[in-house]
Symmetry: C2
Subunit: 281 residues, 2 copies
């Protein structure tokens, strides 16, 4: 995260730890007096919101983002094995990129075993029958796994609250069925994991906000690689599913506070297990 050892920070207020508020008023007095005020180099402040402002600009390329999006969708099971993607000429216009760029991504995903293509009429690009459902987590994610967990926590808890506000009985019925299904899959971890993801994604869909679904799938993609590193004894999976039930019950009775609490407890379980296997904070 580039701690930025540079001592030269100057922006950020006039000294006190408290964020500047009193000096915010537009049309402040002393119009010219400020111009060449000493404004000495400040002592290094404790990590603050300015670190976020001056953090590196990431600027992912279209190619990278495409690989990530499709790869994540496959890993999460949103694109199930055997599913056929839209034709290249159509997909590239959906994604708003050139076909050559899209092809780079498809080729990369083909080489990594996620996709395979069939030529000729009736052909297309298909999700592999048994795509690699997990990839080694990037060193960056590993190093900041706590922040990844935090982000997941925030998004999922928020979604739980929003879902509790807008609970649609029919949709919750479907999610309840998923919970029952999960109970029958406690000894088949891969399937169980996929169903678990579908449950959480379903809750996000229940909010009716596409941006939230996107945000959730992104963090789920990161978490998946981490979760794959740890063991999942059936007892843990069972108790996790008990939490699912409580969560859905809270959502169904529109109890936002309880939904938040249940979701937080649910995710904290995973976090604790991760903490046991990923040494340094």
């Amino acid at each position: 995260m580039t701690p930025g050892p540079s001592p030269g920070h100057t922006a950020g207020g006039d000294g006190a730890a408290r964020p500047v508020v009193s000096e915010l008023t537009p049309s402040s007095p002393e119009p010219a007096a400020r111009r060449r005020a000493p404004r000495p180099t400040l002592p290094p402040e404790p990590a603050s919101s300015l670190d976020a402002v001056f953090a590196p600009v990431r600027s992912q390329t279209a190619f990278e983002e495409t690989v990530e999006r499709l790869g994540t969708a496959i890993k999460l099971g949103l694109l199930p094995p055997g599913a056929r993607l839209p034709a290249e000429r159509e997909l590239c216009s959906m994604l708003g990129i050139a076909r050559s760029t899209l092809r780079q991504a498809l080729i990369a995903l083909g080489q990594s075993g996620h996709l395979h293509a069939l030529r000729g009429r009736g052909g297309g690009t298909f999700v592999a029958d048994s795509p690699p459902l997990t990839s080694p987590p990037s060193p960056d994610v590993l190093a900041h796994w706590r922040e990844v967990c935090d982000e997941r926590m925030v998004i999922e808890v928020g979604i739980a609250v929003l879902a509790a506000e807008r609970a649609q009985p029919e949709l919750l019925d479907a999610l309840d069925r998923l919970v029952v299904e999960i109970d029958g899959l406690l000894d088949d971890y891969p399937s169980q994991r996929q169903a678990d993801i579908h449950l959480h994604v379903g809750l996000a869909e229940a909010t009716g906000s596409a941006r939230l679904v996107t945000a959730l799938t992104e963090t789920q993609g990161l978490m998946s690689d981490l979760i794959a590193l740890i063991p999942h004894p059936p007892e843990v999976l069972a108790s996790s599913n008990v939490q699912h039930r409580r969560l859905l019950a809270a959502v169904r009775r529109h109890d936002e506070a309880a939904a938040a609490r249940e979701m937080a407890a649910h995710l904290r379980g995973t976090e604790h297990i991760l903490a046991g296997f990923l040494p340094r904070t």
Copy 2:
């Protein structure tokens, strides 16, 4: 959001509204049978997570992202009027971009009145004394303002929960003082707004997660442009601050559920007012 009128969707499972789970198991039966199965073009499904997968790749340029980051920081008051930015040569290395690219952004922000530069020794790039604290919301944001609110709700509620978990008394004391300060600014809306933002950002910082601070400032930037469109009578501001107190109290006693409820109620207030001024959903 390009609803994608194309009827050709094929990916996404084998029919039922329920997300595919049963067919997810790797090494499923019928290994070759699937190869050229009919797999007819599916009927258009209800909006689902696949819309997120195939949504356009945005791929912001480094220039755009830089303008947005610095501009938002200024609008939110994270970079207060008169503050001096790091020198260009230093800043561009912090941001991980070329100086020429950074300059484009600085020039753009100079032309829009957010920044002004002084040459010579002791010079630098400074936040304008009275920068434009609001810009007209982009038509895209206006069209999807509900989703923007949803995202804000999710992030802020999640942050409230996480902050409640990790509440640090000293930091909460500082936030309490901010609340008191806000009470004295009920008739000075711009200052009050800035202090409000600092309060929310401070809560995000209390979580200790840089990514969350970033996420919050981003959505705050979008919300600011919307909030600027509506009136803010002192009574509303006062009651809003009462909610602040309740929120901080819940955080202080580590009551996650209450924190989530208070934050949700707090944001819902703004949302209702917005709904009254922004016609169509």
